[in-house]
């Protein structure tokens, strides 16, 4: 019977849509959770690194220098000459490293 078949199909589709919606919801929730955990993990790693460095007697950078270091490691110049320009092919820059790690 054609009508019965269509009804079945419609039912099936409704079920699928509902499933899909739940799944989407779950994915979003998981992504959010993942991001939270990632940030949390980063914080913990930072703490751990700072702790380890203190133990080894390596200089610990000030907050502002850490920010500069982060920008530099993200691929941007932070030196006076090329401030804000991206570092081509992640090449090292003598002026940036002086500002971040220099003895000033």
């Amino acid at each position: 019977m054609p009508t019965e078949n269509t009804d079945d199909l419609i039912m099936e589709f409704k079920q699928l849509t509902a499933n899909l919606a739940t799944m989407q919801h779950q994915v979003v929730k998981m992504l959010a959770e993942n991001e939270e955990l990632r940030i949390e993990n980063q914080h913990l790693h930072d703490l751990l690194d700072a702790h380890e460095k203190k133990h080894q007697g390596v200089q610990v950078l000030s907050k502002s220098k850490q920010n500069l270091e982060k920008l530099y490691n993200d691929g941007y110049h932070i030196c006076n000459q090329y401030y804000g320009k991206s570092r081509l092919q992640n090449e090292s820059c003598i002026f940036c490293t002086e500002i971040i790690y220099g003895e000033r």
């Binding site: 006076n80 000459q81 090292s92 820059c93 003598i94 002026f95 490293t97 790690y101 003895e103």
Partner: protein, 379 residues
């Protein structure tokens, strides 16, 4: 203008001046050769706006067989064409005669060329030179200073000021070049210090050209300054170069004053090892090699790695080794170019940390010459 001259002597002078003349130039008259004839000498000038070369042929030197009948100035364009003619002329002498409208006749043996010249007033004037800022250096020393610094000059036109070598003259001559990845600095004691200090930036390309011209020179080279040009005088020749405009970044504080780890090598041996390791790093995307230093175990290891191809490890044999353990990664090409200028002398490589530049100095006279290379962060 009318003169006759020994052809070989004339060709020699033409070859010198032609180094500056380029067929591609934005100012058409610069494709030409300028000839000025005065009572006792001929002066040839060639220029490409960046560099200008002037050389004189004097009646005082009998080899020139120079006889001047009439003075005057003229531009012959293109210079290459004129030089080809002179080189192919049949006789050992040639005669140049300029008539009205710059009609130039070149005669040698049975051959006679008629070519069109140009008014020399259309040719740019070379700058007046300031004699207050003047120093003299032996040609060999100047060649050395150039070869040690031009390697670090930037090749990127986006950073114009870094495409030159920064000279500071006072009690010493200090030459610095950096492309922001590495730096090279040479210091030379001046015999007669300048009364007032000067600093200027000479384009790296000009210095390379100058260095080529100094190959056979042995005498003193005189360096003088003007507003925006520098002049090198040697023998019969004057070499002008434009200076780069702008402020050169302060490089004095880039050079570390202390170090934690020091290693001594024979420059040649380290160079060979770096070249081997770079064979693999060149195949990898980021072109980095790693140096692992363990002073306690007397071990220095160089590693090159390319995920697609494979890896190389080599234990080095340093002549001396002291300080803390260190692992540092960097672009091998910079170290290779740096080591090449040292030849086979012993060098000291000094490190502060894995993230700060390391230095390379000759063991003998370490205050004169220093090179810096920035490490690359690896994850």
């Amino acid at each position: 203008m009318n003169f006759s001259i020994n052809r070989v002597a004339f060709i020699k002078a033409l070859n010198v001046v032609q180094r500056a003349i380029s067929a591609k130039t934005t100012i058409p008259i610069l494709t030409g050769l300028k000839i000025d004839v005065t009572d006792h000498e001929i002066m040839l000038t060639g220029s490409n706006a960046d560099i200008s070369i002037q050389t004189t042929i004097s009646t005082a030197n009998p080899d020139n067989e120079l006889q001047i009948q009439a003075t005057g100035s003229l531009v012959l364009s293109p210079a290459r064409f004129f030089a080809e003619i002179v080189k192919k002329l049949p006789d050992r002498e040639l005669q140049v005669d300029v008539a009205d409208q710059y009609q130039t006749t070149i005669k040698s043996g049975n051959s006679e060329f008629n070519i069109n010249g140009l008014d020399a007033n259309g040719y740019p004037h070379l700058p007046e030179i300031d004699h207050e800022h003047q120093i003299e250096l032996p040609a060999k020393l100047l060649r050395e200073v150039i070869s040690q610094t031009v390697i670090a000059v930037s090749k990127q036109e986006s950073r114009p000021i870094l495409t030159g070598v920064h000279f500071t003259l006072e009690k010493h001559l200090l030459a610095v070049a950096t492309d922001s990845h590495r730096l090279s600095q040479r210091e030379v004691e001046l015999e007669s210090p300048l009364t007032s200090p000067a600093d200027f930036v000479i384009p790296g390309d000009s210095l390379k050209e100058l260095s080529r011209m100094l190959d056979d020179e042995e005498d003193l080279i005189k360096l003088s300054l003007s507003e925006n040009q520098v002049l090198f005088t040697f023998g019969e020749t004057q070499f002008y170069s434009r200076l780069l405009e702008g402020n050169y970044p302060d490089t004095s504080r880039l050079i570390p004053n202390s170090s934690d780890t020091k290693v001594q090598f024979a420059a040649g041996e380290l160079l060979a090892a770096v070249e081997r390791a770079s064979l693999l790093s060149h195949e990898s995307r980021n072109n980095v090699i790693k140096l692992t230093i363990k002073p306690a175990d007397k071990q220095v290891m160089i590693t090159g790695n390319s995920p697609d191809v494979g890896k190389v490890e080599e234990n080095l044999e340093p002549q001396a080794l002291s300080g803390n353990d260190l692992e540092i990664s960097f672009n091998p090409d910079y170290l290779r170019e740096a080591l090449r200028v040292f030849g086979s002398v012993p060098v000291e490589v000094a490190f502060t940390s894995a993230l700060r530049p390391f230095t390379i100095k000759p063991l003998e006279r370490p205050d004169e010459f220093i090179q810096l290379i920035t490490p690359v962060r690896t994850f």
